[in-house]
Symmetry: C3
């Protein structure tokens, strides 16, 4: 039988022993685990970045993979810990909104507060629940402990509002850069489906994407078609509209960061 | 049966193929290994940092995990290679003091010089014993080769003096920052046990922690209780006294590096 | 039976989910895989660096390891995807020359264009073939699908000219720095065999290595014998001539980058 997979998404970095301590605790309880790093380089304390990463990654894994997501600036406070079953995957995280990207179809969501302390590592620290709570819960869940055993089902989990494109006038969207990847590609919150529908419905099937110092009115298909100096638009691997330059960082060229606004006018 | 675990703690970084070559050599000898990186980003040539990391991490792994620690600035010289059994774990390292943090209870320590050359990779390089000696020895040890087979038992292994807090006068400790983590938290060499005992024994159960530009006289419990701009003190996940700021780097705010001194006066 | 090993060599970095998405897709098809990162920090779009890394690493792994190499600046264009059997290992890569270092002995090389689309992930993106083509092909190959099933055998794969030392006059080589490792060691394209043969054949068995601001006429054996400030020459772990300084970056001291030229005169 295949070994159970546990993934890690954290802001712990890879210089310290924090990630290794979590893996160690998991393997001590369940030596059969196959632990895969999604990334441990979420920008420090950036809950929304972790949100983006896990929502765009989990579904490529086999069903019932256990995803541990730890970006936890209020660790040790009264924020709750949760374990959830969503779309045939398991998630373990602080209840601070880091899973917000996943709470779309209420029918497929069951969220439990973690409070069964006998599964915790002892002594329990107040500063590192990744090691002391999330890791052992993941290992026991992978061993077959039923999700109900970790605590009570809750409905009032934190569900943050993710930025969606706004229809500011007929045929005109205000959109936003929601992720800058490490190539410097600027990923917007406009999906291919939404873009194509608005383009279809427009009179001339034309569009104009505008932001400070940027004006784009055609789509490229691949990065190699983009210009080296003038960033262009295309649909990237997340099927979201992306602004990119050929073999260069569009973020550096334009000086755009996450949160930068842009408008798309279809005409 | 669970696969044998080998951990890696090195200063090789992750850009080159050095870590991968070690993993390759191990898997060629023993394809069943589960190789876990503790970190490969020890500060270059910093034996004391590797010392801190391995001593604070190994015990979270299952017993008899094999820990390979390679920070080895004098590789190829007459420094010895060692394999050790300590507190029911195995360690493989250059004999340069990198395991010093583990040599506390002589009853649980057995150290062997590695000189059984038939276990080495051929040809043996003079610059990369991680790949040519430590990796194959780890793989053979995990396969069941007895530790005595790698060489003679020795007692004169290098055991460096680690910095411990000094009682400079009645009720006053001089302590030291022994690790700066990648969040910028400043970890001191004062343990919770020592701190609490001195606080208990003091007249008013009060303390004053002082360093250049820093004066602290209370303890926080969690990071979220710390101020963003004025670093505070708390016990971190190693159970050692730590100086930290909320969601910021205390190291940057204070300009403190590893080795910075501080005093704690109990009154 | 040991789990099949797949290695990854990419320029995707570790901050994003690109590497994790590839691993996820592979594990979904074949949960038994043991996926090992060679490195995901190839300099962005640097085909020659990936070439150097994979050629110097693959042979340490067990035979028939599957090596996935993705540095792919023209992804989505008409560049082909290939799967190859070379020297009893498997390789999967874009056909852009990234495997050039391996194409030395035509007898041991069989290269196939990948075009069996039923193995691809659906929907197929035009920007991320690592996830959509290379990962699933690796997983199916590891599951026992015959290499011929992925497409037609080809002979016109891209084979880039790698820089080799040039005999500019009798007894005088012009060589080149072909890799700068993360320690700052400068690795040249002169092999130990070539160097030793020319030294043997020279009259006085002496040599003079010269480059801008650098003059070396002896060989060190290990890094610890090098000077801290004046870089020296030695044979490193690849058996190639290397310029290094003791516990410092020779690249920084000399200001040399990849591509820097040097001459070696034997006399």
């Amino acid at each position: 039988m295949a070994r159970p997979i546990v993934t890690l998404t954290t802001d712990f970095g890879t210089r310290d022993n924090y990630v290794a301590a979590m893996k160690a605790v998991m393997l001590k309880t369940n030596p059969e685990l196959n632990i895969i790093d999604i990334t441990n380089e979420i920008r420090r304390h950036d809950i929304m970045e972790a949100c983006f990463i896990i929502a765009n990654t989990y579904h490529y894994f086999p069903n019932w993979t256990i995803h541990v997501v730890v970006v936890d600036p209020t660790v040790g406070s009264n924020r709750r810990a949760i374990v959830a079953s969503i779309n045939s995957h398991h998630f373990i995280a602080p209840d601070n909104g880091v899973l917000s990207g996943l709470f779309q179809d209420p029918e497929d969501i069951a969220v439990y507060e973690i409070d069964a302390e006998h599964y915790y590592l002892r002594p329990l620290s107040s500063t590192f629940h990744g090691r002391d709570i999330f890791a052992p819960v993941a290992a026991w869940l992978a061993k077959g402990v039923e999700i109900e055993n970790f605590g009570e089902k809750i409905d009032d989990y934190v569900d943050l509002q993710l930025p969606v494109p706004e229809l500011v006038e007929e045929g005109k969207l205000q959109a936003e850069i929601i992720h800058v990847d490490s190539f410097g590609n600027l990923i917007t919150n406009v999906t291919r489906a939404q873009f194509e529908q608005m383009l279809d419905e427009s009179e001339n099937h034309a569009f104009e994407l505008a932001a400070e110092g940027l004006l784009i009115n055609d789509l490229k298909r691949i990065y190699a078609e983009c210009d080296k100096d003038a960033p262009a638009a295309l649909f990237g691997s997340t099927s979201q509209l992306e602004i990119a330059a050929r073999q260069r960082s569009a973020s550096e060229i334009l000086g755009f960061e996450k949160g930068a606004k842009l408008t798309i006018k279809f005409s």
